[in-house]
Symmetry: C2
Subunit: 380 residues, 2 copies
C-alpha cells in the first residue's frame, strides 16, 4: 500500500491522479490533499477518498469544511500546502499544483524523505538546482508525471546515462500548429483553448499554443535527466503518439508510445519501478491511426521555445523570470487584456530587463518572481 | 576485451558483424570464424582479423587455405562449425549462418557456457524448446541479433516480464507490399529480391516478400521472450523505422527506433548490457522522413505468416516442417523452378502432410527436416 499526499487535487492532473487511485484501491490511499477554491469538488473527494488531512486556500472555506466534516483534519493557506506535502503518513508526494506555489512544499517534502512525483513545472523550472541537490542529498527519487518526461524516464530504464546522445521531446504544436505567425495576430482565447490532442487546464493549453509549455519542459528535462541543453531537442509530432524519445550514441532510439492519456504517466510514477494494469486505459491502435507525422521545430515560428532555451542556458534566476512573465502574460491573455502574440513580447521584455543572479536561494527566486510579475503588470 | 566466435562470417550478418568489430578493435577480437564457399572473402577476413581458427565448408578449400596461411588453424565441414562454435578462447558466439546447420553448433556452444548472439532463425524456429532449456540450464544469455527481436529486447530492459501485454513486431511488407494477391501471380525473382528497406541475403529477402520471414520471427519471439502466440502481433510499417514494440498492461508501449542498419542490433548484442558509440552509424532524422505509416496485417494476403502462427501454436516438429518446406520452396523459386505463390502452396502441403511429433529431440528434428525437404522436392 502506497500512501499519497496530493497537492492540487481538484486540478486536471489531481483529478486524473484520483482516477488512478480509484482503479487501485488496494494499492494506493490518499492520505492528504491540498486544493484551491473548488470546494464543491473538494467535498466529493473527501466523501470518496476520506483523506485524513485537507488543506484549502482560504480561511473561510477552511471554517466551512471543518464544520461539515468533523472527522477530517483541515488546514489552509501556503502553510497548509506545506503541511500536506510533509504529512507524516504519506510516502509519496504528488505535486500537481499550478504555479510557483508548488516549490516550497516540494523542497520541504524532499527534506522529509518523501518520494516526489512531480507534475508542477515551476518547481524544476525556477529552482531545479535546489530541488535536484536536495533530492540527491536526501536520496529521494524525483519521478516525472508529465507525459514527455515520463516517456524519457521510461525509455531510460535499464540504460546508462553515459550512453545518451540526446533527448527528443515531441511537441504536438498546440492549437495553432497549422497557422503561420501572421495568422496568430488575431486569434481568440477560445481558439487557443481548443487543444487538438490533450484535455488540460487553461494555462497549460495556452502554453502549448505558444510552445512555452515545451520550453518549460526542456528546462525540466535539463534538471530531471542532468542533460545539457545541446542534448535536448524538440520535434513537432502532431499526433502526440510517440510521447518522447531518447537517442543513444549507438544511434539506437527508444521511445514511449501510447494514446494521449495522462493517467498512464501518473500511474507509472505511482507504481515505479513496477507497472500495474490500467483497466480503463485505451490501447493504442497504430493501424487505425495509420500515420504519424514529424516536422522540424521552428524557433522563429515558436519564439517562446527559443526564449526558454536561452533562459535555461543562462540559468540562475532567468528561468524564474521566463516563467513569471509567462504566467502573468497568459493570465492577461485569458482575461482578454492582451493579444496572443503579446505573450511572447512580454516574456522577451522581462528577460531583457532582468539582471541574472546565479545560484539563487529560494528567497531570491520568490523575490525575482514577484518583481517580474509586477514588471509585466506595469507593461499591460 | 570480448572474444568472438563468428559462424557465417562471409554472409550478410557476418560481414556487418566484422564491420562492428573493425570499429571497436580495442573491445572485440575475432577468435574463430566459420565460412561457406566464399574463399576469396575468407582470405581477406583472415588477413585483416587474423582469427586463430577458421572452418570452411569443403575439404578442398581447407587444404588450399592451410597451405596459404601456415599460422592459422583450419578445420572443415559440419564438425568444423561445431569446433568454431565451442572454440575455447571465445566468450561469445555470433551465430549468423543460414539454415538448420546453425542448430547443433549453438547447442554445443551453450553447453560450453558461451554467450549466444543469435541471428540464425532456424535454431530457435526448429529447436526453440531445446535451445531455451539448454540456455536456462547453463545460465547462458540468448541475445537477439535480428532487428525486430533486438528492438523488443532493448524495449524490455528495466521492465518486468509479468507486465507485458503483447509484443508488436513490425513488418515492412517486403518487395511486394503494395501488390494484391492476384498481382503476385507472375512476379519475377529479380522483383522479389528488390527489398525496399533492407539489404540482405537472397533467401531472407524472398522470405520478407512472402512474409514467411515475419512468421519465423514470430516463432523466434515466442521462444526468446517466453511469450504465448496470442500476445505476439505483427503490424505493417513500411518504413521499418520503429523496429518493434512492447505493450505493457498499463497501455504504455515502448519501441526501439532507428535507421534500418543491422550493425546497430549486432553491436547491441556484442555490447549488451552496455552500449558503445557506432561512429559510422546514421542518425535517424524523423523530421526528414516526415511520416511513418502503419497498417493492419492481413493473414489472407500473407498466408505464410498465417501458416507460421499455426505451426508455432501446434509446436513440436511442425515449425521444422514449416522452415524446411519454405527453404526448399524458396530455393526452387530462386532457381526459377516454381512461381512465387507456389512457395506458400508447398509450405501448406508440407504442413498438412506431416504428423506432428511433440518435444522432438535433435535427431528427430534433423530427420523431419530431411523428410520434409524430400517431400517438397517430390512435389516440384
Amino acid at each position: 500500500m502506497k500512501n499519497i499526499s496530493l497537492l492540487g487535487a481538484t486540478g486536471s492532473i489531481g483529478i486524473q491522479t484520483l482516477d488512478v487511485v480509484r482503479e487501485h484501491q488496494d494499492e494506493f490511499t490518499i492520505k492528504a490533499i491540498s486544493v484551491g477554491k473548488n470546494i464543491e469538488l473538494t467535498r466529493k473527494i473527501i466523501g470518496e477518498f476520506q483523506p485524513e488531512l485537507v488543506s484549502v486556500q482560504n480561511f473561510d472555506d477552511f471554517n466551512t469544511l471543518k464544520a461539515e466534516f468533523p472527522h477530517t483534519n483541515f488546514t489552509y493557506g501556503d502553510e497548509g500546502i506545506i503541511e500536506t506535502a510533509v504529512y507524516e503518513k504519506a510516502d509519496i508526494l504528488v505535486n500537481a499544483v499550478l504555479g510557483s506555489v508548488g516549490l516550497n512544499p516540494t523542497l520541504q517534502a524532499i527534506e522529509c524523505g518523501k518520494t516526489i512525483a512531480i507534475a508542477n513545472k515551476e518547481t524544476l523550472v525556477t529552482a531545479g538546482h535546489l530541488v535536484v541537490d536536495a533530492a540527491k542529498k536526501n536520496n529521494v527519487p524525483l519521478l516525472p508525471v508529465d507525459s514527455e518526461h515520463s516517456a524519457i524516464f521510461q525509455s531510460l530504464q535499464g540504460e546508462k546515462e553515459k550512453n545518451i546522445e540526446r533527448l527528443i521531446l515531441t511537441a504536438s504544436g498546440g492549437s495553432f500548429r497549422d497557422r503561420t505567425r501572421s495568422e496568430l495576430e488575431d486569434v481568440t482565447v477560445e481558439e487557443a483553448l481548443n487543444h487538438p490532442n490533450w484535455s488540460m487546464g487553461a494555462k497549460i493549453t495556452i502554453d502549448s499554443a505558444s510552445m512555452m509549455n515545451k520550453g518549460l519542459e526542456v528546462i525540466e528535462a535539463h534538471w530531471l535527466f542532468d542533460m545539457p541543453y545541446d542534448k535536448i531537442d524538440v520535434l513537432l509530432h502532431k499526433e502526440s503518439i510517440i510521447h518522447s524519445m531518447v537517442e543513444f550514441h549507438d544511434s539506437s532510439i527508444k521511445g514511449q508510445i501510447g494514446t494521449p492519456d495522462m493517467r498512464v504517466p501518473i500511474q507509472y510514477a505511482l507504481t515505479y519501478p513496477d507497472r500495474m494494469p490500467l483497466p480503463s486505459g485505451h490501447r493504442l491502435d497504430l493501424a487505425a491511426i495509420g500515420q504519424l507525422h514529424f516536422k522540424e521545430m521552428d524557433l522563429e515560428r515558436f519564439r517562446c521555445l527559443k526564449f526558454a532555451y536561452e533562459a535555461g542556458r543562462i540559468g540562475g534566476t532567468l528561468p524564474t523570470v521566463l516563467n513569471a512573465a509567462n504566467e502573468t502574460a497568459v493570465a492577461a491573455f485569458l482575461e482578454g487584456k492582451i493579444r496572443f502574440l503579446q505573450i511572447e513580447n512580454l516574456v522577451e521584455k522581462a528577460l531583457e530587463h532582468h539582471q541574472t543572479i546565479d545560484y539563487p536561494s529560494l528567497n531570491v527566486i520568490h523575490e525575482v518572481d514577484k518583481e517580474t510579475r509586477q514588471y509585466v503588470q506595469s507593461l499591460l
